[in-house]
Amino acid sequence: MKLPIDWLKELISFPWSDEELAARLIGLGIGVEDESHGVLTLEVAANRGDLLSVLGIAREVHALTGSPIRLSDVPPLPSGKPDLTVTLDHALVPRYTTAFITDVTLGPTNNRQVLERLESSGMRSVNNIVDLSNYLMLETGQPTHAFDYDKIKGKKMSVRLSKRQETLTTLDGVNRNLPEGVLVIADADRVIDLPGIMGGANSAIDDKTKHIVIQSAVFPYEIIRKASRQLQLATEASYRFERQVDEGGSLVVLQRLADLITKEAGGAVQGVVDRNETKPSSPISFDPVLFPRLIGYALAESEVKLILFRLGCRVSGAGENLTVTPPTWRHDLTVAADLVEEIARVSGYEKIRPTPLPKSRPLSSEDYLARESLKDWFVSHGLSEVMTYSLVSERDLTASGLNRSEAVAIANPLSTALGYFRPSLLPGLLAAAAKNPTVDPIKIFEIGRVATPKKERIQVGVLFAGRKAGTIKEVIKQLGLKSQAISPALKDQYKVRKQDVQVALADWEAVRGKVPVAKALARAVRFRVKALSKFPAVVRDVSFVVAESVGNVEIKTAISAVSDRIYLVELFDEFTSPKIGAGQKSLAFHVHYQDPDKTMTNEETGQIHKQIEALVRTKYHGEVR
């Protein structure tokens, strides 16, 4: 929501710069996304519909400072009976106010302040009456609507739910087939309005309009929200009704709108109808001791009462028996804990003193430790850990040897390729193998949750592919598992271009306890990863003999620094032997190349490779093999 700061200042005084104001609002829990040219862009929590107006923000400032809020006085409207019959069900419209104004003059808005404020709030000017309606919505949070009186057939309006096959062309020119059960206003013949969302073209005011009916009402948020979704039509009005408007404010806003219209567009107010069946806010029993109990510091009773009072609550009683009645605009205040938050928020969260929890040894997380230990064990045996997608396709099910009924189907999938919860890690492991065409051998594992409709469980999966895939047997023997070769057809389906692909799968329950629980787990160390190119990596090996005194890490770091297109250098072999000479060692590294913009050619990697060899020779006096 855009908030022109000068508009706020018109409603309430405060001694702060724009930056300070922004900081105060953030402290109250109102997000400030931007502050420029005297306009704040605010983000309001979903349960704080009352903040979607200049008045709403002014009330928050009032809670902090106690400065009075200045709203223009409006003369009471003449009560009379307009020639209009309104029928409604109060379950659909808890409060409904209308006024009948004759002989208005439609035209462009001349009031510069109205134009400027609409513009800085991101709304375009339509005509003097619509502009004033929007202006008041921005100021008070209450959407209003104006009908052309002469277009209301039979001088009858009924607020009801739509029936089958009703249609309406809305103000945006779209002809809409209305689903059954959305809130509508109909005249004697037809639907003329989607109240709370958008008006109908057939009752809209235009250049020829003389007499108007203006409406300010409360429509139930659930009904507006559902209709807005069904119609895929969200407006400034529906946004506010969905977040609940102030049912105490309907008539005041109607009076102000009538007053502004007669000033800007002429005309005379003939009569007002206020049908009010709103329920008063429920009082909350509040024992102020809950505040220190939840927050950790105490406030004097007078302070507690003052904050609640400035928030618009009525407070009665004393000591531990306070009765607090929230104002009509605060639908979010229903239990005592809500009041605790209000008091803490207005006092400032920064007043809360950080207090360590009492020391306590955690219960041992045995299953977690056992699983993490198995991961470390796999890694020490040369395997890398993958995490693969939990959602799979029907083809993936076939791959796992399952039919549809054995997997949990997603009723509303993102796509058919993601229509099922994985019943097995197998499809993910095969996809991961295919994802890494340049890696050979591939040795990966995953530990993750899989499910059939009857049972969800943790599965352990291992995949070896490429050179010496058969060595999987030696690794998984200790876990009591057997591997199986993936068929050529299945390899084809997943585009795994490796001769030999071996997989082993087991329930975690069957594997638990097969490897010892680690005393200490490897933990994160912070570093910046190198970004991945969209193009495949190229891997080349370099091996050489150097003096044993040369550090492996030093030389690895030096190789990494040769080019920014080297993203990974891995030591994969190291040995000493009499053959290569005393005091010497043989080192072999995988060097991974990638270019952010293209697949690297042999020449390109070859050139960098030559630089690496030169580095080894000149700086480390090594002999490249």
């Binding site: 997380s365 040369g382 949990v408």
Partner: protein, 226 residues
């Protein structure tokens, strides 16, 4: 033999869990496919809450949901444990949203809850400060601002400053009395706090990973760097 590599989320997850273990939190692990009760109703998320729309949550054809967070631990854990307790669940969560470099439908969530006699928001804030410093270092700038989440009251949001910008990172608050009722814990005797966060987003900031989708891609070019 050359060692393999742990997945970055395993390493980062261990750092978060170990940090919380130092503050007395144990770990727990519950199903990824949940009933609406454990994922929504029991956590005071009303029936008409936007998060429960089919546009936001995956429903299974047998009427369950893929959990949208790991706060299910708040209801699951007390079924077998009496307070006081401190427990964290780190696991997969699901949201029905189109994926891009910063959004993933399948991701990890870390959710923790502490319940005891005399727990205050001061304890919550201290826990958050220790957690932030353990992950991002003692110089990390942070702030706590009031916010709204249905399962806590009062609630707050943790903001961290990166490269001059404040980012809304995660939510926290005091356990809502309705959630206490559903835990079958007496809120007149006990109080507690809860907090929860997306793990990938934190790990991206921690390691400088620029695309959230790379975590579940199986791409060994990422994993081999760890």
């Amino acid at each position: 033999m050359t060692k393999g590599h742990l997945h970055p989320l395993t390493l980062f997850g261990r750092l978060t869990v170990a940090t919380l273990a130092d503050m007395g939190f144990t770990t727990a692990d519950y199903p990824e496919i949940e009933t609406e009760w454990y994922n929504f109703d029991g956590l005071n998320v009303p029936k008409d809450h936007p998060a429960r729309d089919v546009q936001d949550t995956f429903f299974t054809s047998d009427g369950r949901v893929l959990r949208t967070h790991c706060s299910t631990v708040q209801l699951r854990y007390p079924e077998a444990h009496q307070p006081p307790f401190r427990v964290v669940q780190l696991g997969r969560s699901f949201r029905n949203e189109a994926t891009d470099a910063t959004h993933e439908a399948v991701f990890h969530q870390l959710d923790a809850v502490a319940v005891d006699k005399g727990i205050t928001m001061g304890n919550l804030i201290d826990t958050q400060e220790r957690f932030i410093k353990a992950i991002f270092g003692s110089k990390q700038e942070y702030r706590f601002v009031p916010s709204f989440f249905p399962f806590v009251e009062p609630g707050l949001e943790v903001h961290l400053k990166f490269k001059g910008n404040w980012l809304e990172m995660w939510g926290a608050g005091m356990v809502h009395p309705n959630v206490f009722k559903n835990m079958k814990v007496d809120p007149d005797q006990y109080s507690g706090f809860a907090f929860g966060m997306g793990v990938e987003r934190l790990a991206m900031l921690y390691y400088g990973v620029d695309d959230i989708r790379s975590f579940l891609s199986g791409d060994l070019r990422l994993i081999s760097q760890f």
